[in-house]
């Protein structure tokens, strides 16, 4: 008998190759953005906590994290937050109100909200990237 070996990361690519649909797409991105946001959360707490060593320490740290590059990366942060938040609400609606039949419609509504959010984000963040 033959069974394909399961790679820790390869597994996600395999599943995506065999199930190319909205549900799998959202699940993969939800995982990825969730892990990214949790790592960011701890980095965020550490940077803000530099205020404990006085205003100078805080300001010098904030100089490090407010460069054109980090402003550019913040756009990706907004993508992660926007997606994770909207998809999380989509799953919660499906779980709490048993709205599994409507999950595709909710996905596209969430997609429209995400697009609007990204237009606002880019209009605010892109000038910041180039204003240094």
């Amino acid at each position: 008998m033959y069974q394909k070996k399961l790679g820790i990361i390869q597994y996600y690519f395999d599943e995506w190759a065999l199930n190319r649909n909205i549900g799998t797409f959202s699940w993969l991105l939800h995982r990825l953005t969730g892990v990214i946001l949790t790592i960011y959360l701890f980095a965020h707490i550490l940077v803000v906590s530099s205020g404990l060593w006085g205003p100078e320490s805080f300001n010098s740290w904030l100089k490090v994290v407010q460069t054109p590059l980090t402003h550019f990366l913040e756009i990706f942060l907004m993508i992660c937050i926007g997606f994770h938040l909207l998809n999380g609400l989509r799953i919660t609606i499906a779980d709490f109100f048993l709205a599994t039949k409507e999950h595709k419609a909710i996905f596209w509504v969430a997609g429209a909200i995400f697009a609007l959010f990204m237009i606002v984000t880019l209009s605010v963040f892109l000038p910041r990237v180039f204003s240094h």
Binding site: M1, Q3, L6, L18, R20, N21, A94, K101
Partner: protein
């Protein structure tokens, strides 16, 4: 002219599986299953696959056809784009070609005790059920145990002990049944480490189900019952 690209694996010859192309002229309304029989009879008699009823009732011929798990007997060739890629069900050991070992699938199914457990005082004659109570389980009855949902569920790949959409759907069928006496035990059983809370609401099972059942909804319902212990 249509091309089938079929997953081939013979444990006596191959170490790794391969895809073999087969070309033939289909007739109008030919199903994938008829195509497989055409190949078996005229082109390659070593091809192995499961099938029985040819009319979407037995659930033997579920396979991965052009990106979706479906019943070969229910899918017509003309609605698909050639070449048509055919794989066996995922997450199950492959015995030969398109034949998979369904033991893990049915082991999970047996674990939830898929039969009526009587209440403490069973009636003398038959169990009576009102029309309203019967309607409550309407949505969960039609499962043919084809394995399409099991193959499509990413959680089943990682956790072979995960009960799976088919077993959880059947569990809810008995939880919602007014005649069943083991409701509490059933909900407690599916609230195990490899139970309902491994489900990440990916919706694959309801997307692929050839009988248009909704295991995702069944699992969501079980989650509610588990959290609030309302039976």
């Amino acid at each position: 002219m249509v091309e089938f690209r079929i997953f081939r694996f013979d444990p006596e010859k191959n170490k790794e599986p391969e895809f073999k192309p087969y070309q033939f002229e289909p007739f109008k309304g030919m199903t994938i299953l008829e195509g497989l029989y055409h190949i078996l009879e005229n082109m390659d008699s070593s091809l192995a696959f499961r099938s029985s009823c040819r009319e979407a009732v037995c659930g033997s011929c579920a396979m991965h056809i052009n990106g979706v798990y479906r019943l070969a007997c229910k899918t017509q060739i003309q609605i698909l784009k050639s070449p048509i890629t055919i794989r066996p069900l995922s997450h199950l050991p492959i015995i030969k070609d398109l034949v998979v070992d369904l033991n893990p699938f049915f082991d999970r199914f047996r674990e939830i005790k898929p039969y009526l457990i009587p209440k403490e005082n069973p009636p003398e004659k038959e169990y009576l059920q009102s029309v309203e109570d019967r309607e409550k389980i309407d949505d969960w009855l039609d499962c043919i145990l084809c394995g399409a949902c099991y193959g499509s569920c990413p959680v089943c790949a990682q956790d072979p002990k995960y009960l799976g959409p088919h077993a959880l759907l059947k569990a809810l069928r008995f939880v919602d049944d007014s005649r069943d006496g083991a409701t509490r035990e059933r909900v407690a059983f599916v609230t195990q480490n490899s139970g309902i809370f491994r489900c990440h609401t990916i919706f694959n099972c309801r997307e692929v189900c050839p009988k248009d059942l909704d295991p995702t909804k069944a699992i969501a319902k079980l989650k509610w019952k588990s959290v609030f212990k309302k039976f």
